[in-house]
């Protein structure tokens, strides 16, 4: 009787649904690899190597892979937080990409022009990125709160504006060509000799701590503060929040500001962590858009976003390893695509699970009678 009830509860839990969906994505991926006539073991070996650095076929260990995996996860986690934070207030922040771009651009700008004082330099660059992202998100928040402009439309437009603005600003920097600016002074970068050594020369940098701190900050704001309370109330029932005197418009604006800040930090983490020069963007980096998937799979919970950011980071950074094992690298894209599709079908999955739970109680009830 008790076990039955637990089962029912577990099935109703968002976390379980996410895990289930991820499992399903992997199962389909495996099947596909089989269908194209390859050995799925190669795929799992590549993933194992990404996660642990352990190459099972050649029996060698190289921590660099772990470093690259974590590095790839940093902007995904931060953009996931951006998306998730807005989602908790009932907003769809499809503009994380634009906020990411302005953050990246601001960080590059400060990296090039701020006096090269140790520590202060990258702190200033980070702050500038956070502020730029916050501003970019804030514009949308205020448009939405004040004039009921749809945040979806506004953010999509601002993504374009951010992109062209970034190219224009970056190319105007003296010494810049069509794809890069001069190098940053070393004081600007987030590069960490310690972390690099630890991971055998990977690009892992202090951005990792930035992402972890951001998760902690997210969790703290959402779960522990009165600001988080008003945001969640607004997200769940805007009318009731308004009736209760919660300043709904302010909630919406502050939510977009904080969401933008997270994406701006993601931009800084990439600009200052993985590069030592400013980039003139030739296209979207897509971290902002991938953040949507990260937040969806992570249920917009801090811990969930961290986990799902690491998952998507793993899928991305295991691509070259798969190729070296003759597994088409597109398989990772298919798996992440499937996971997103499945998670979007969550409503359906849930219905199914509800139905299952009902069946389970029914048969459970019958055996109780006898």
């Amino acid at each position: 009787m008790n076990r039955k009830k637990n089962w029912e509860q577990i099935l109703a839990d968002d976390r379980t649904v996410s895990l289930f969906v991820v499992g399903l994505g992997f199962a389909c991926g495996t099947l596909l690899v089989l269908l194209v006539g390859k050995n799925p073991a190669g795929m799992y070996q590549a993933m194992l190597q990404t996660l642990t650095g352990w190459d099972i076929t050649r029996k060698v260990w190289n921590a660099r892979y772990i470093g690259e995996w974590l590095t790839a996860s940093i902007p995904l986690i931060l953009c996931g937080l951006s998306m998730g934070f807005a989602a908790r207030t009932g907003l769809f922040n499809i503009g994380a990409e634009g906020q990411y771009i302005v953050g990246l651009t601001a960080a590059q700008f400060v990296a090039l022009y701020f006096p090269p004082v140790p520590v202060l330099h990258w702190v200033a660059a980070l702050a500038a990125a956070g502020l730029a992202g916050a501003l970019w998100g804030g514009i949308v928040g205020i448009l939405k709160a004040r004039f009921e402009v749809s945040e979806v439309v506004a953010t999509i437009m601002l993504n374009y504006v951010a992109f062209f603005l970034s190219r224009w600003v970056s190319m105007a920097i003296p010494g810049a060509n069509t794809y890069r600016t001069p190098n940053f002074p070393p004081t600007a970068t987030l590069a960490s000799g310690f972390l690099e050594n630890l991971t055998n020369g990977s690009r892992l940098n202090y951005g990792l701590f930035l992402a972890l701190l951001a998760c902690l900050f997210y969790w703290f704001i959402i779960e522990k503060t009165n600001l988080g309370f008003s945001l969640r109330a607004t997200g769940l029932n805007k009318e009731a929040a308004r009736y209760s005197g919660i300043p709904v418009t302010r909630s919406i604006a502050s939510s977009m500001i904080i969401a933008g800040m997270f994406a701006g930090f993601a931009g800084a983490a990439v600009a200052l962590g993985s590069f030592n020069y400013g980039r003139v963007l030739g296209g979207y980096d897509n971290y902002g858009f991938n953040g949507i998937a990260v937040a969806l799979v992570g249920n917009s919970q801090a811990g969930g976003i961290l986990a799902s950011g690491l998952l998507f980071g793993m899928l991305a950074s295991s691509q070259p390893l798969m190729q070296s094992r003759q597994i088409p690298k597109e398989i990772t894209l298919i798996i992440s695509g499937l996971v997103v599709v499945f998670i979007s079908l969550r409503a359906g999955v849930k219905l199914f699970l509800d139905w299952r739970a009902k069946k389970a109680t029914r048969t459970g009830g019958r055996s109780n009678d006898e």
Partner: protein, 516 residues
């Protein structure tokens, strides 16, 4: 020997933390009106949901017309001739009456397309047969709540139901609509249908039901012949103690004016109408008195409350609380000025259903100490303790205590939670709209006593209710509203139902041709 249309034997169903149905037995005779009575959270809706295939029972047997069945889902229930009118209607708003009725069950012409014409005539025939007055071509959004309910009834009759379940059908209706529904029940019975009726209103049971089954806290208490059982006895069975139907209200000299409304004009919600919904309205409520606002639904009450509480801008005029002009203040400022408010629609406005009970109980106070400590950090412990106190003080029943999700609480207990929260704010002025809609007599007694206690503590209370009984029971003065204007204000002592009714209706009759 009687034949039973429905037998539910030893039905048990548990939810996390609650035994919602504990070996309940319900036997409904063929062609009777059978009422199910029970306190809020007694398990009535759960039992009906099991019968309709929405939940699976943990154990127990169901027989329909003597045959044992396992009802897997609503479609199965429908095929057994069971239909249900839910408390919250499930209609598609921009569809017509006909489209809603045939939805999922569309008749086909020989060409294979939907035979709307045929459906319309079928529905017309059904509606005359049962006296269910509807316009088959009207859109749902343009018809009244009472008519929407008739559409729901037609929908199940159209599917050839012979056993009709009504879960609190009168909770959303005005007194006039309730009278009509009672007539519809008689008609359905005369046409051979069996009716299962959940209601908290003893008067309705006396008026229509043949027999009544009483539940208390998930347990079966008994089934009685309604004709041989007094209202008092029914209430006692249901609550487990004697219930008094009227509150004791000591005479009290009202104090200074708290709420003063002066020449207030407010525009209507139905947008484009040039006629204001509240016109040059003036009234006041003093410390230690309850002012009741009586009126037929749709005469400006909603707009008036929204203007006072800050949800709707005012056109002109003044609203003051204890001398402070709040006519254009923010909602939060009004709450801080000492205004508590129990809204009419608890799901939409009163609660965040996705929140836990304890979070809902601090919805208006969470941002300040003791719930927020330094740096905006919430004190989960204080929030939890507050809920524990209020649950005890207001007898709120929730399966998992303060941690219960508001959405899993029974309707009545949700309402108790809102009232507990608003009264606990200890406001100068308490505005209460339809406080006991959907509540059982025990809970009504409790809440009425609370409201009077607030008055005795010196609060000013403005009560809006469609139930004249409630108004007479609680109020010191009664204002009648019609077409957005106050028709008159009388002392309770000098008023009777006829007088108030005439005040409300007289104006309505006097202004024919100007539909509100």
């Amino acid at each position: 020997m009687d034949t039973y249309a429905i037998e539910m034997l030893e039905i048990t169903k548990s939810f996390p933390g609650v035994l919602a149905n504990d070996r309940i037995t319900l036997q409904v005779k063929d062609n009777e009106v059978h009422a199910v009575l029970g306190e809020n959270g007694a398990g009535k809706s759960t039992l009906m949901s099991i019968l309709f295939g929405l939940y699976a029972a943990d154990s127990g047997t169901i027989r329909v017309r003597g045959k044992e069945v396992r009802i897997d889902d609503p479609n199965h229930a429908t095929s057994l001739g069971i239909g249900m009118v839910h408390q919250h209607f499930k209609l598609v708003h921009n569809y017509t009456v006909t489209e809603n009725i045939i939805l999922g069950n569309e008749p086909r012409t020989v060409w294979g397309n939907v035979g709307i014409k045929k459906a319309e005539s079928d529905i017309q025939a059904l509606s005359t047969q049962y006296g269910l007055d509807v316009d088959p071509k009207a859109k749902i959004e343009s018809i009244s709540v009472g008519m929407q309910q008739r559409v729901e009834i037609l929908k199940i009759l159209y599917r050839k139901a012979s056993i009709l379940i009504f879960d609190e059908p009168t909770a959303v209706l005005t007194p006039q609509e309730i009278d009509e529904l009672m007539k519809i029940f008689d008609r359905l019975k005369a046409e051979g249908k069996t009716i299962l009726l959940i209601t908290h209103k003893l008067r309705e049971i006396k008026a229509t039901a043949d027999r009544c089954t009483v539940l208390r806290r998930g347990k079966f208490i008994g089934t009685v012949e309604v004709a041989d059982t007094s209202e008092g006895r029914l209430a006692e069975m249901m609550v487990g103690r004697k219930v008094s139907f009227s509150v004791e209200r000591k005479p009290r000299v009202p104090g200074a004016v708290v709420l003063e409304i002066d020449n207030l004009t407010v525009r209507g919600s139905r947008g484009h109408s040039a006629v204001p919904s509240v016109k040059n309205l003036s009234l006041y409520v003093r410390k230690g008195e309850i002012l009741g606002l009586a009126g037929v639904d749709g005469n400006g009450q909603t707009e008036l409350i929204e203007a006072i509480t800050g949800l709707r801008p005012i056109e002109s005029g003044k609203i003051t609380i204890s001398g402070k002009d709040i006519g254009r203040a923010t909602i939060k400022a009004r709450i801080e000025a000492g205004m508590g408010f129990v809204p009419e629609d608890r799901h939409k406005h009163g609660l965040v259903l996705g929140f836990r009970l304890d979070e809902n109980l601090v919805l208006k106070t969470f941002f300040a100490p003791p719930y927020t400590t330094s740096f905006g950090v919430l004190s989960r412990r204080k929030i939890f303790e507050n809920a524990t106190d209020l649950i005890a003080a207001f007898d709120i029943r929730a399966g998992e205590g303060p941690a219960t999700k508001a959405s899993s609480m029974s309707g009545g207990n949700q309402q108790k939670a809102i009232i507990a929260r608003e009264i606990d704010l200890s406001p100068e002025l308490l505005i209460i709209a339809q406080p006991t809609r959907g509540l059982d007599v025990g809970a009504i007694e409790n809440i009425h006593a609370r409201i009077v206690a607030e008055r005795d503590k010196g609060r000013a209370v403005l009560l809006i209710s469609f139930e004249l009984d409630e108004i007479f029971n609680l109020c010191d003065r009664i204002a009648a509203i019609s077409k957005g204007e106050i028709v008159g204000i009388v002392e309770n002592k000098e008023a009777d139902e006829r007088k108030i009714g005439a005040m409300m209706a007289g104006m309505v009759l006097g202004r024919e041709g100007r539909q509100g």
